[in-house]
């Protein structure tokens, strides 16, 4: 899973968001490191919707502009949880292997 996709799913994990909301959430989650652009966001959303991981959660018009809200589907939640667990397992393995070097210096 690409990082942008992972972050988009994460941004939707605790509630629905509209496009602009996802961009600001992703910036916040990644400490400002990832600034999604509209093209990347909507290409990813298009694919995530086709894969059934994300669904439209209603629309509204704000100041004459269309806002569409997106939410995670149960499938999306499962995929995100599995991916998060995988990343955590990898990170734990990396830290475990690094630890002797980090803790004890050169043996």
């Amino acid at each position: 899973m690409q990082e942008a996709t992972f972050l988009i799913l994460t941004a939707l994990a605790d509630g629905s968001q509209h496009g602009y909301g996802i961009i600001t959430e992703v910036a916040q989650i990644s400490d400002g490191r990832v600034r999604l652009r509209a093209g990347t966001l909507y290409t990813a959303l298009d694919r995530l919707r086709a894969d059934g991981l994300v669904a439209v959660d209603g629309e509204e018009i704000v100041e004459g502009r269309l806002r569409r809200y997106y939410r995670l589907t149960p499938d999306g939640t499962a995929v995100l949880a599995a991916e998060a667990a995988r990343l955590q397992a990898n990170a734990a393995a990396a830290l475990a292997r690094l630890r002797p070097g980090l803790a004890g210096g050169l043996a």
Partner: protein
């Protein structure tokens, strides 16, 4: 206000590279986000923003989002590449036809066979290009007959390459032989991809629901021998299976994460089997 309209017009122009069906549904929304995220005082579309939009539009046109496994998507891309390679082969043969005829004069015994091969490529290439495109389209839709036809075509392709080798085409027309080998390699890769387990599930969704996933971790009832050690593939497959059970409402989020922890750290079949023991086959 007039600044805004220039910017908006710029965005609209670039958005035209997206598929029309996408724009009908999402065009206004994307435009709203573009205008919301545009920096204060920006009057023209930036280069990076324009590139990001164009890239997204091209990607959406070339690889429309569809719930396809990666293996099938890769196979479809390869088949499109096969059509391109075939076109390259056609050009190669057309360009080198004169040179090959001259070279063939030095091998009188093989002249006819080689020329026949060259003419066959010239005449058959348009047909082959059409076939590649057609198979790419049908395989992308998950048609099982397309998979069988692809395999059959690959068999024919293999036969023709072997035949060309036997006719010493390589000696007389090396460029033609290289082109044929490239086409064959693309065919081999795409046929292998559409017969991978992941792709098989896409082609045969009904059967896949009846059959258990092909991993030792999901066969607890059959494991009667020693408690074997398991690998990353088993852990990953079980994690995916647990995710699927969770998605179908058979596990709560707490149960799911707890079992995932066990599955991802398990080292023995018995450990990993207990995470799926009370769950039906997928």
């Amino acid at each position: 206000m007039s600044d805004m309209t220039v910017l908006e017009r710029g965005y609209r122009r670039i958005l035209a590279c997206y598929p029309r069906s996408f724009l009908r549904e999402n065009g206004d929304e994307v435009l709203a986000v573009l205008l919301d995220t545009a920096a204060e005082g920006r009057t023209r579309v930036g280069l990076a923003g324009a590139w990001d939009l164009v890239r997204g539009g091209v990607r959406m046109r070339l690889w429309p989002a569809a719930p396809r496994p990666r293996a099938v998507r890769a196979a479809v891309t390869l088949m499109l590449a096969g059509a391109a390679t075939e076109l390259a082969a056609l050009i190669t043969v057309a360009v080198s036809f004169g040179a090959v005829r001259a070279a063939a004069a030095r091998y009188p015994a093989t002249t006819d066979a080689v020329l026949v091969h060259q003419v066959a490529v010239l005449a058959g290439a348009p047909l082959a290009i059409g076939l590649w495109l057609w198979l790419a389209w049908a395989n992308g839709k998950g048609e099982d007959w397309a998979r069988m036809l692809s395999a059959a075509c690959f068999g024919l392709l293999t036969f023709s390459v072997l035949d060309a080798l036997a006719q010493h085409v390589a000696a007389v027309a090396p460029a033609t032989m290289i082109a044929a080998a490239a086409v064959w390699a693309v065919g081999l890769a795409s046929v292998v991809l559409i017969f991978t387990p992941a792709a098989c599930r896409y082609y045969r969704p009904r059967l896949a629901r009846i059959l258990p996933a092909p991993t030792s971790a999901l066969w607890p009832r059959l494991a009667s021998g020693p408690d074997l050690r398991i690998g990353d593939a088993d852990r990953e497959a079980t994690a995916v299976a647990l995710g699927e059970h969770f998605a179908r409402g058979r596990l709560t989020l707490e149960e799911f994460t707890a079992r995932l922890d066990v599955a991802l750290t398990a080292t023995r079949q018995s450990e990993i089997a207990q995470t799926t023991r009370d769950l039906p086959y997928l």
